[in-house]
């Protein structure tokens, strides 16, 4: 799934829920950095972004994984998550 696909799916609804896998495999491959970044971000987004911890997203070899409004993003980085969220916001602005 490309970033554009995820953006399309996420765009409906005004609240973004991000599930971060904090299982041991994803944790080892960098979910602590994602959590740090997302908690900051959710403050910036006026708490319209909700961050939840989940224990496994069943893609342990492609960690760290997150789900954005139900869409799985494997090998997640702070940069890709930010890009997705910015595009979602931008789409909303354009209507």
């Amino acid at each position: 799934m490309t970033i554009a696909d995820i953006v399309k799916k996420v765009a409906n609804g005004d609240r973004v829920i991000i599930e971060v896998c904090v299982g041991t495999a994803c944790h080892l491959m960098g979910s602590p950095q994602l959590v740090e970044f997302l908690e900051d971000l959710s403050r910036h987004f006026n708490h319209q972004v909700e961050v939840q911890f989940v224990s496994c997203l069943n893609r342990c070899h492609d960690g760290p994984c997150v789900k954005i409004n139900g869409c799985l993003l494997p090998n997640a980085t702070c940069e890709t998550i930010e890009e997705i969220l910015l595009q979602v916001v931008d789409n909303e602005r354009r209507g």
Binding site: T24, H27, L28, G30, E36, F53, C56
Partner: protein, 477 residues
């Protein structure tokens, strides 16, 4: 904690090695592992496949517990593995700079950049006390023979055109143990190194790493007749993610095959008692013995005050001795698991024949992942450990924690206050020790921590010190 891309590369390699070891296929497949990783699209971000393969080979060598500096460069990984099983690892060469991965980054400290405009002011020329700056080809030029690297020209340039560079590992090393070899790549002088591990986290090329006990531990866990006990350092709090507390960690280790899991904070409780007693009986000041990097620093660089280090062993050694005394089991294997690189050295020396291996939290997570154990989903038994270390002992892992614990206990014993001094991070420790040795500081108890923020800032941690600290303060009041 370190730059996450570099950490990811190392962790992936460790995990692959651990998986092969659990499957019993390491000997057959180790030679083809670099090829397989590259074919699967894994990259160590080097210029070409040959370089990638060389870096992977060195990383795998460290993962199986061998320092690449000590092997024949022509030997295959399978040969290195075979040899390693018959040899006892030497006490030194714990931390290695991988020649293949070291970029031999620029060594000249003062560099004039393209931004130099050969301006009329020539403030760099005027600022230089050694007349080391000349104008050559319409641009400032540093004469290396005269330059003393004072940095005054850097400060003086209005364009910021002169920069000061230093290799990150060299800068991170508080004891100047890292310097270039004849080819310009950095090497560690093991005679000077105190094994703090600061350089490991500092290198942006991931070229510095520590020899791992990963394989040793996996082999112990696979040998059914041995009993393996895990000793968990107090800094474990928050290290395995927001959903994992002690009970899950304990359950996970038991699932891995550990027969018992012991909090090292219980050893810290023994230390509080013994060090406070030492203070009551002793003339002159006392320094903590729990941090091996700090202890190495004192012994090597301030031998005149080394007798002031507490004669009490570290919490690791005390608790391991204790458990060994209680156990009748002949083939007990004791594994320390913590944030620390220097503990690996301590285990090889003071802990010889009682501490069998030392893992970092990172290495433990690697073993868990390789064994398919997810601590966030593990079933936790309703009855956990019965050992309950004190709050004061659990805070040993935070800078200032040891000092606080000892002061409080001393006050309970004598009703008197202690004068204390403390430093965290080896550079700060070095400053404090210089003043102490010169008699410029008066203190009864001195706490030295090799890592900034204390053990929670150690090179073998999985989360950053700030987060670990906030989890700790929430859990331990």
């Amino acid at each position: 904690m370190m730059s996450s891309d570099v950490a990811k590369i190392r962790r992936r390699v460790l995990t692959e090695v651990a998986q092969l070891a659990f499957a019993g296929k390491l000997q057959q497949e180790i030679n083809s592992l670099p090829r397989r990783l590259i074919d699967a699209g894994f990259t160590t971000k080097r210029c070409c496949q040959y370089h990638e393969k060389a870096v992977l080979k060195d990383l795998i060598t460290l993962a199986i517990g061998v320092s690449p500096e000590t092997v024949d460069p022509e030997a295959t990984l399978a040969e290195i593995l075979t040899d390693s099983q018959s040899l006892q690892p030497a006490g030194d060469h714990l931390v290695s700079i991988l020649k293949s991965a070291c970029d031999a980054c620029p060594i000249d400290r003062i560099v004039v950049t393209d931004a130099c405009r050969n301006c009329a002011a020539h403030s760099c020329v005027n600022a230089c006390p050694k007349d080391a700056i000349e104008i050559v080809n319409n641009r400032a030029f540093v004469n290396r023979e005269r330059c003393v690297e004072c940095g005054l020209c850097v400060k003086s340039c209005h364009f910021g055109a002169i920069i000061e560079l230093e290799r990150p590992c060299t800068r991170a090393c508080a004891v100047s143990a890292i310097g270039p070899d004849e080819e310009g790549a950095n090497v560690i002088d093991h005679g000077k190194c105190v094994e703090c591990g600061a350089c490991i986290s500092a290198c942006p090329f991931g070229a510095i790493a520590v020899r791992s006990d990963l394989l040793k531990v996996i082999n112990m866990l696979k040998a059914k007749q041995t009993q393996v006990v895990g000793f968990i350092a107090p800094s474990y709090v928050g290290q395995f993610g927001p959903l994992v507390e002690w009970a899950a960690l304990e359950a996970g280790l038991k699932k891995l095959g550990f027969s018992a899991v012991v909090p090292v904070a219980a050893g810290a409780d023994i230390i509080i008692e013994l060090e406070a007693l030492e203070l009551v009986q002793k003339d002159g000041f006392l320094m903590n013995s729990c941090c091996p990097a700090f202890k190495n620093l004192v012994q090597r660089y301030f031998p005149e005050i080394a007798s002031h280090i507490s004669h009490t062993a570290s919490p690791m050694i005390e608790i391991v001795k204790n458990i060994r005394k209680q156990s009748a089991h002949q083939t007990l294997k004791c594994i320390f698991i913590g944030p620390c690189v220097a503990k690996k050295g301590e285990a090889l020396r003071e802990g010889k024949s009682i501490v069998d291996a030392v893992l970092t939290f990172e290495e433990l997570a690697v073993i868990l992942v390789a064994a398919g154990i997810n601590l966030a989903e593990i079933e936790v038994p309703s009855i956990g450990t019965t050992v309950r270390p004190s709050t004061a002992a659990r805070k040993f892992c935070v800078a200032g924690g040891v000092k606080q614990a000892i002061t409080e206990r001393y006050q309970q014993m004598t009703g008197q206050q202690l004068k204390t001094a403390a430093a965290a991070g080896l550079k700060e420790c070095r400053k404090l020790l210089t003043l102490l040795a010169a008699g410029k500081i008066e203190a009864d108890f001195v706490e030295g921590m090799g890592c900034e923020a204390g053990c929670i800032g150690g090179p073998g941690t999985l989360v950053d010190a700030k987060r670990a600290h906030s989890v700790l303060s929430r859990l331990i009041k």
